[in-house]
Symmetry: C2
């Protein structure tokens, strides 16, 4: 990329390392940044460093947050006896957006993946087990419906069986608004298996 000066090339290269940003997008972002008011650029750079240095794991649920306890774990309006286990903070946010779930979460910060060499000790399972020694009614496993997510769900359900706590898994099936024609066979079969009486 010697069509650009060194400073611009470096910015394009560094932006290009971000996920989902190819060379073309990186160029577009770089020139956008160069054309932004200096004030805004400094603020962006500052926000990036602040986020990196200030954000840590919630002591309770292991989600990424600014303080020792995340807003959900420190809220007394939430049902702390119902714990939904998710893979990451974005999945937590996805359920929060529904506005209907009133329990708390546990963020594994990953999923078991023998392919990537991620075992049970590499995700935040120990922290979950510690929490389960308290007063817990139900653990809802809401890991993704992927190979890794399902493997993690299986592992977790076996691990939790001896505790006697109710363990549930979110349902698999046809997404609401989904057209059967465009849905893969595995999902269609799951939806059939999990059919409900009307």
């Amino acid at each position: 990329m010697d069509y650009y000066s060194q400073t611009i090339s470096r910015l394009i290269a560094e932006l290009g390392h971000l996920p989902g940003v190819g060379t073309k997008s990186a160029q577009r972002l770089a020139f956008h940044i160069i054309n932004m008011p200096e004030e805004q650029v400094r603020q962006l750079a500052d926000t990036i460093v602040t986020a990196k240095t200030q954000v840590r794991f919630c002591k309770e649920c292991c989600t990424l947050t600014d303080s020792d306890l995340c807003p959900i774990c420190s809220s007394d309006k939430r049902d702390h006896r119902q714990i939904m286990v998710v893979e990451n903070s974005r999945d937590l946010a996805a359920y929060e957006k529904t506005g209907q779930y009133n329990g708390v979460y546990h963020v594994l910060q990953g999923a078991i993946s023998p392919m990537l060499g991620i075992g049970p000790n590499d995700i935040r399972l120990k922290e979950l087990l510690v929490r389960l020694q308290g007063d817990v009614d139900e653990v809802i496993i809401a890991t993704n419906s992927t190979v890794e997510g399902e493997a993690t769900a299986m592992y977790l359900s076996k691990l939790l069986k001896p505790t006697g706590i109710r363990v549930t898994r979110i349902a698999s099936g046809v997404p609401v608004g989904g057209d059967l024609e465009y849905i893969d066979e595995v999902t269609l079969l799951k939806a059939f298996e999990n059919r409900k009486e009307l």
Copy 2:
């Protein structure tokens, strides 16, 4: 976005203002940045500010560069009597990638667009006219093949007519490797109009 802590929300919001970055991508980028090593994050922030503060317009061709004169304008291996006029530095890079053009450039930093209120005085036209007082053989207009690019090309060709300098426009037609079936009618007509004897 109160599903995330304040610092994370702010990072997502600021990243979301960049072009081509929607809320989902901004979330993905934000969590990627938070998971990057601190060293790399500081470097990214630093590169962003450096690019903004160090990059300026080349005194000669108005492209974005680190020094007073860009590498192309300061090279004596280039033909300074042939000037290709482009809209922005990315278009310059696109022609440089061909590796075949040996002239120099003039970067307008925009195109005339009455819709957006961008007139001839808002782009780097005056700088081009100053350069044309020197020894110039040909001006190649390589603005985009869009409404704005064509309007700019028309304006420029009329403006340059009295100077007696040879003014050319890059060809419009079917892209190499393009399948006629998938090409729009306007391009097909242009390709027909601009047909060449074999």
